[in-house]
Amino acid sequence: MSIAQSAAMDRGGPAQPLLLVQDLQKHFPIRGGLFGATVATVRAVDGVSFSVLKGETLGIVGESGCGKSTTARLVMRLMAPDAGSLIFDGEGVGQNAQTGGLPLKEYRRQVQMVFQDSYASLNPRLPIEDSIAFAPKVHGVRDSEARGRARELLAAVGLAPATFARRYPHELSGGQRQRVNIARALALQPRLVLLDEPVSALDKSVEAQVLNLLVDLKEKFGLTYIFISHDLNVVQYISDRVMVMYLGEVAEMGPVDAIYDRPAHPYTQALLASRPAMDPGKRREEPPLTGDPPNPINPPSGCRFRTRCPHAEPVCAERKPAAAALGGGHLAACHMALPGSGHSQAGRLAA
């Protein structure tokens, strides 16, 4: 449980990204008609690549239907991707050990997940102590030891074991249940924790408590986070790097300051401008974007954002924009960011 221990598990060294995701793709067929033929395809995740460095927090933001939760489920391997690969600390996930791969069971021990719905993700018939001890027992830890660890973890997430260990999920508040979920995710001593909207269902005052807890636990256990949220302020608060998704693709990615201070993609700019002002003196008169995000069934050709983009030109419909490097690991998939792309404002943003 100590940092020394997790360092001992560090096989690839500090420079090796903890997780490399390459060209991840997941399409869901929609069947219909007389013979159940595929009539359409939801392109939920379409060629997403990113890396997560050791000890950092990668924030993923986007609106509903952008593929952020599907990405999380693919990374967790709760569903199999159609294409693409996961490399965890230098080892291919799901390959057998002889070829230098990491078996799925071992991978899942090192990667754990916390979901938005704190009630649905706990077994209502198990006291929370047993819920936390369940996974270690599956992985071969003795019962008494697993319980002892569960109690330690309850204390670590701020729930006094003597009071809470034997309680059932319905006896806890939303914030307390989310703490239990976090404790359970940590029970296997994972290195990577996927947090899928972990504070979205909580009240503001409880949200702040859980965010503080996540920051503390990260330091205490030497964790790496992937933090998924639709709340731009929360993502800015907790992340080191941020990835913005739109309709199954990565729109922009980079260090948190670059994304929030110098957003290059028109979608990121609009998303940031959509935040309520918190100051009645600075109320907006016009919405930054009109319309809803389009349906991920049959997304627009070329750049998927072009149907809502104020700068769209013919080139945007013809070609999918390649990711333009803006320096310092800041990437934007926009023709305007890429010199020589054929867009009239191309290269204007290049550093």
């Binding site: 702040a208 709340d231 608060y237 948190v256 998303l271």
Partner: protein, 336 residues
């Protein structure tokens, strides 16, 4: 409550206010337990004014609003005075209520999919409302429906009249629900977290639309939200609720800059805002009180960082008004 009666008369109070709630309390009484959801709320709303009721889950904000429209179930015991445009809502019989709802007061909800009828088209639902309340002919009602869809800025409105709710995207559905609510030009619009389920880029569109409609139609709006940012975009005045009481009330600018009561202060500190990276968030320790008994003294005292013996003595605590237009129920706030 007596302190309300001796409130200094302002310009707005001189005419008949649109909404006047006095000492409203709501108890949910079941065989097993009684929950004191709302414990003595006073609300005033002038016509053409936007009031945000801000609070966390269980603070009684939605219950207060449902009491205003008499939408609570039978086992809810409501006491106190509720008047809308000078009419006593509590005394209305079922028939009067049905005319009152929809024509004088309309409500929009967080989830349009459950508020709209799935088996009727948007056009039918608007036309039905208009014909029921205003007795228009079918063709006149259809014309009004089209006008309303254009008013709420639904693109290709004519085609959308024939659409069923499930055929619309979340943002359009929310606009359609607003159109149904506005069908009979209500004087008062009640909005219960109407933008909470929407994406960021759509939420701001709906907020701006509501603000524009409110100005255009001169409606009074009571807007329930848990989001300080949303209140900042839409409110004229804000009332913060905690444990079924309004603990602070005032103009939105002043409330967001410097709340008087420790609870909204804590809430503001716990809200993640840009530029807080790396700083530790201030939190409010503990949890809201159980409402099995109505709080008699300050309900926030057990969690309050500034608690002192006086907090657990004074009943209420009584409202203080340090400057005109602002009120806080806290013993630390000066003023009578």
């Amino acid at each position: 409550m007596s302190e309300v009666l001796d409130r200094p008369t302002t310009e707005k109070a001189a005419t008949v206010p649109l909404v006047r709630m006095r000492d409203v309390a709501v108890r949910f009484v079941t065989r097993d337990r009684t929950v004191h959801a709302v414990n003595g709320v006073d609300v005033d709303l002038a016509s053409g004014e936007v009031l945000c009721i801000l609070g966390e889950s269980g603070s009684g904000k939605s219950v207060t609003m449902r009491a205003l429209m008499r939408l609570l179930p039978k086992f809810a015991k409501v006491s106190g005075r509720i008047e809308v445009a000078g009419r006593d809502v509590v005394a209305m019989d079922e028939g009067t209520l049905q005319d009152f709802r929809g024509s004088d007061v309309a409500m929009i909800f967080q989830e349009p999919m459950t508020a709209l009828d799935p088996v009727f088209t948007i056009g039918q639902q608007i036309a039905e409302t208009v014909r029921r309340h205003e007795g228009l002919s079918r063709s006149a009602a259809d014309a009004r429906a089209l006008e309303l869809l254009e008013l709420v800025q639904i693109p290709s409105a004519k085609r959308r009249l024939a659409a069923y709710p499930h055929e619309l995207s979340g943002g359009l559905r929310q606009r359609a629900m607003i159109a149904v609510a506005l069908a009979c030009r209500p004087k008062l619009l009640l909005a219960d977290e109407p933008t909470t389920a929407l994406d960021a880029t759509v939420q701001i569109q709906v907020l701006l639309l509501l603000r524009r409609l409110q100005e255009q139609l001169g409606m009074g709006v009571i807007f329930v939200t848990h989001d300080l940012g949303v209140a900042g975009e839409i409110a004229d005045r804000v009332a913060v609720m905690y444990a079924g009481k309004v603990v602070e009330e005032g103009p939105v600018q002043a409330m967001l800059r410097g709340p008087l009561h420790p609870y909204p202060r804590g809430l503001l500190g716990a809200t993640v805002q840009p530029g807080m990276r790396g700083k530790r968030l201030t939190t409010i320790p503990g949890a809201p009180p159980s409402l099995d008994a109505a709080p008699t003294t300050c309900p926030f005292a057990p969690r309050c960082p500034e608690v002192e013996p006086a907090c657990t003595v004074e009943l209420g605590p009584r409202p203080r008004r340090p400057v005109p237009g602002r009120m806080a129920r806290c013993v630390h706030v000066a003023g009578g």
